[in-house]
């Protein structure tokens, strides 16, 4: 495998080199060695071994969890499950779907993610678009004011006091509003607008009598669909995965997002109630199994959209890097 593709690469390089040599006249022309050297071949073996190690190290825990979630809990605790289910069962998933606490959490998280993402997107565009416009007097001042919040923050309790004062404690808004606008996403959107909407387009629209709002609606937004997808998904995944704000602001279990329910079940072991010994054991086993299934259920939504998002995330990272 390795040798085939390296030789292919060498031909490409070799033609490139000859072109370069005639162009720059840096060195007298001499025969170009095409063969890989022994050291290099050894090096490539090392590279493949290293990357395979990375691959296995990341994959094995994931597969182990999925395999365990379909296995008999006794097989799991006996250490008989590795990468494939043993004594296949769906009991864990039945238990997950039968738990009202988990279902409520799942529904709540869908709500927080949907509404939160919409609010965040609207607010982010509303600040990033004016900041991207040269005609917006005072944008330097405003941008500095926003970036400063990334460097310095009031802190946990002072923020808590604000949420309390606004009467948001123990309401759904407490999970949506305090983190609504991300500075990073704002910078990303601003850089995107600036780079991809040429001034000429704006001038033309203005000549046609378009207002700033109209230009945003009819030109900027349609041209920014990839950006909206990226920052929307960033917001959505962050919201879906967060538990800290709920821990701070929410007391009512009916409002708990899924991650907080997960924490209570998975980390604090809150689901096992007192029973007689045999019942206890059966319950304990089911509770163990439920943990694996629950991890799978909570992670699958994110893992399903991730392959579609990953490409854009990479682009987002690069866009940020270019703009420095």
């Amino acid at each position: 495998m390795v040798s085939v593709e390296t030789s292919d690469r060498s031909t490409v390089r070799a033609t490139g080199v000859s072109a370069l040599l005639t162009q720059r006249r840096r060195k007298p022309p001499r025969p170009v060695k095409i063969k890989e050297r022994g050291v290099d071949r050894l090096f490539m073996v090392g590279v493949y071994v290293l990357l395979t190690t990375f691959l296995v190290a990341v994959l094995v825990p994931l597969i182990y969890i999925v395999a365990s979630s379909f296995s008999d809990p006794r097989a799991v605790s006996a250490g008989r499950v590795m990468l494939w289910p043993v004594d296949f069962t769906l009991d864990g998933y039945t238990a997950v779907l039968g738990d009202p606490q988990i279902l409520t959490g799942f529904g709540n998280s869908l709500f927080y993610t949907g509404v939160g993402t919409a609010v965040s997107l609207v607010l982010t565009v509303a600040i990033a678009y004016p900041l991207s416009r040269k005609e917006f007097w005072g944008r330097g001042f405003l941008a500095a004011g926003i970036v400063f919040t990334m460097l310095f923050a009031g802190g946990l309790i002072p923020t808590y006091l604000v949420v309390q004062e606004l009467g948001l404690l123990n309401t759904r808004w407490a999970l949506i509003l305090p983190q609504a606008v991300g500075v990073w996403q704002t910078i990303l959107a601003m850089a995107f607008f600036r780079a991809s909407i040429p001034d000429e387009l704006y001038e033309a629209a203005q000549l046609d009598g378009s207002s700033d709002m109209r230009f945003l609606r009819s030109v900027v937004l349609p041209l920014s669909k990839p950006l909206l997808a990226v920052i929307g998904l960033m917001y959505a995944i962050t919201q879906w995965n967060s538990y800290f704000d709920a821990l701070l602001y929410i007391r009512d279990p009916d409002l708990y997002p899924l991650q907080l329910v997960l924490r209570n079940i998975l980390i604090l072991n809150q689901s096992v109630a007192g029973m007689d010994a045999a019942e206890m054991l059966r319950r304990q086993e089911l509770a163990d199994l439920l943990k694996y299934s629950l991890i799978v259920v909570a992670t699958v939504p994110v893992m399903l959209i991730y392959p579609f998002v990953a490409r854009y995330f990479t682009k987002g990272v690069m866009l940020g890097a270019v703009k420095g």
């Binding site: 390089r13 990341v58 004016p130 002072p158 006091l161």
Partner: protein, 322 residues
């Protein structure tokens, strides 16, 4: 809503001179009032949820009580800070926070670079894409789930880890309740989760390297290792510098979320960091002023560190954050 054609035509001509002064401001407001309308809500957001908390931070210099509120509570000067500095846990917290964060930095700075450099050598598309996609995936898993997975993995009763060490005849260990394992668990679960994601930044930097450099190196008979040393490493140096500055600058800002989830009463001697202690004091003990003082102390240290590291880096390498 629509501006008359005449006015807008004038607008395009005059766009350039909106540079400074009250007149320029007035003109911008009149002509682009919609933009100013648009920013109202987001600006309100930043004022309410970012700047208002900063003013609330004055309770760090007060003895806060609910009845008098933030501004009515009596001033106590620097008493809250003295109380914190004289508290025996102060040095433990500082040490725990610093060591944990430094350990994270030392482990998670080089590994993504190695991963990116190795990936960059591979020409076989399928393998390269697979490794990238798979190592990137854990970044999207929530902290709660990663911590749960780690706990299940290391659990003495259920976990795979104890089955493995059992093969070597070692008795099962309850890793989570042994303070000496806390940092390793924290750091390596972190590396597991973020290495693939962090490598993306370096992959982008490597993709931007001028291909003629490799061709020239090939002509000079450079080995792959030499190409990495003389082309790849200098190529990612600017990116690596920024990442390192941010890492060092944020060394005291290590987050609450993960440490809190790994915490239990047995490993507290190493797992209690400034962020988790602030939560304990503020929300569980309801000592708002003390918690705010600790938070403020931490914020100021972070800001000073970040600026200092930036300045040092700028002087040494000519590159900084801004």
């Amino acid at each position: 809503m629509l501006i008359t054609p005449q006015a807008s035509a004038r607008g395009t001509l005059r766009v350039k001179d909106t540079s400074k002064g009250r007149k320029a401001a007035q003109r911008a407001l009149r002509r682009h009032w919609q933009l100013y309308l648009l920013v109202l809500l987001p600006v309100a957001y930043f004022i309410v949820f970012k700047y208002w908390p900063m003013t609330n931070a004055v309770i760090a210099f007060k003895s806060y009580n609910v009845i008098d509120g933030v501004w009515g509570s009596p001033w106590v000067g620097l008493d809250q800070f003295h109380r914190f500095f004289e508290n025996p846990v102060f040095w433990t917290l500082l040490r725990n926070t610093f060591i944990l964060s430094a350990y994270v930095l030392v482990a998670s700075f080089p590994i993504p670079i190695i991963l990116a450099l190795a990936l960059n050598e591979v020409r076989q598309k399928f393998f390269k894409r697979t490794v990238q996609m798979v190592t990137y995936a854990p970044y999207f898993i929530s902290t709660v789930v990663v911590v749960s997975m780690t706990i299940l993995f290391l659990s003495p009763r259920l976990g795979l880890a104890n089955d493995v060490i059992g093969i070597f005849g070692i008795d099962s260990i309850d890793f989570l309740s042994r303070p000496e394992f806390f940092r390793h668990i924290y750091v390596w679960s972190d590396v597991w989760q973020t290495a693939g994601y962090s490598a993306v930044i370096y992959m982008a930097a490597l993709a931007g390297i001028d291909p003629t450099l490799y061709e020239a190196a090939k002509v000079d008979g450079a080995s792959r290792l030499q190409k990495i040393r003389h082309i790849d490493l200098p190529g990612i140096l600017p990116t690596a510098t920024v990442v390192l500055i941010l890492g060092v600058g944020n060394v005291m800002a290590i987050g609450f979320e993960k440490a809190f989830l790994f915490q239990n009463t047995l490993n507290l001697s190493q797992s209690e960091i400034i962020a988790t202690y602030t939560y304990r004091i503020g929300l569980l003990n309801a000592d708002f002023s003390q918690a705010s003082a600790i938070g403020l102390f931490n914020s100021v240290i972070n800001l000073v560190l970040l600026v200092a590291v930036h300045l040092i880096a700028k002087r040494a390498t000519g590159r900084g954050l801004w």
